[in-house]
Amino acid sequence: MNNSEIFIAIAIMSIISYFTRALPFIFFRNKEELPHYFLFIGKYFPSIIITILIVFTLKDVDFSIVPYGLKEIVGVFVTAILHLLFKNYLISIFLGTVFYMSLVQLI
């Protein structure tokens, strides 16, 4: 994207983000009024989108040639194990990324 396209994209994301956060203050004054489908999406969709985003961030990896995306898969597992062990998101993200960077730069 060129700079003016980027600025339009930033404006769109700003408006959508603000609208998302303001939604309950605008439309829903108490929880009983919420339509069922809205609560249903709200409960389950965050987990779905996070999973989708993991795969989305790996979209440029070519799984059909050596090393078949193994570096990325190992990176994901190392990050997950670090997080289960230390339960500190900064440690998991930092060490996970350093681990992956050394994999792609050194091997």
Partner: protein
């Protein structure tokens, strides 16, 4: 100064957020300039968008030249969890007057967690206390991302693989989601729909198609999911 106590208390409470936001913000700024985007986009984005996950994904939107409508829809679904944060704060944000629009704007995953875990102090002016707390938090994020972007554009080092910080962030968020939801089915739906789109859909439409397929699956298996 009139609200000195509020300012002090808010700063004290915000320290855990300071650590997280400066480090994560730094990573964001670094990643942004590693794709040769201008450093000043980092503070602009952190000022106006101020949503960690979306800002990281935005770099991908720029790279693949995503369409505006696609960006809008994807942003909505990436942020949808935050539409539910306000529900438990409607009462607490009453009588916050002119500051209310900012308080709503600055509700992130972390500030929400903090706001809902602190007790209101009778001696403090609530609205200014909230305001300082949220303002400090955004300041840390802005500072971290600006520093990262400036550092990255001036000091050249091998950033190959740095984009994995985004994957790592989502892996961590995914584990945290599972801990609170304790239901594997939605993760399964997310995985199936995104793998499907990865194989069959061009990368600039992949996110959107994944979301649509996931929504269809979610409502198809509604009963099964809720009975898990």
């Amino acid at each position: 100064m009139k609200y000195k106590n509020e300012l002090k208390k808010a700063f004290h409470i915000s320290i855990p957020i300071m650590m997280g936001y400066i480090v994560l913000g730094f990573a964001f700024g670094l990643l942004l300039v590693s794709f040769d985007y201008s450093w000043y986009l980092a503070p602009i984005m952190s000022f106006f968008i101020y949503t960690g996950a979306l800002q990281f994904v935005a770099i991908n939107f720029f790279n693949i030249k995503a369409g505006y409508v696609d960006i809008a829809i994807a942003s909505w679904f990436i942020n949808i969890r935050q539409a539910f944060y306000g529900l438990s704060l409607i009462k607490r944000f009453n009588k916050t007057g002119k500051l209310k629009p900012y308080l709503i704007f600055a509700l992130t995953d972390e500030t929400y967690a903090l706001l809902t875990s602190i007790k209101d102090d009778e001696n403090l002016n609530k609205k200014w206390y909230y305001f300082f707390l949220l303002f400090f938090s955004q300041f840390y994020w802005l500072l971290g991302s600006t520093l990262g972007a400036i550092f990255g554009s001036n000091i050249k080092f091998n950033t190959q693989g740095l984009e994995f910080s985004l994957t790592a962030l989502f892996v961590v968020l995914c584990i945290e989601q599972y801990k609170s939801l304790k239901n594997i089915f939605p993760f399964f739906i997310g995985f199936i729909s995104s793998i499907f789109s990865l194989i069959f859909i061009p990368s600039d439409k992949m996110l959107l198609v994944s979301i649509v397929v996931a929504l269809i699956l979610l409502f198809t298996f509604e009963r099964k999911i809720e009975n898990e």
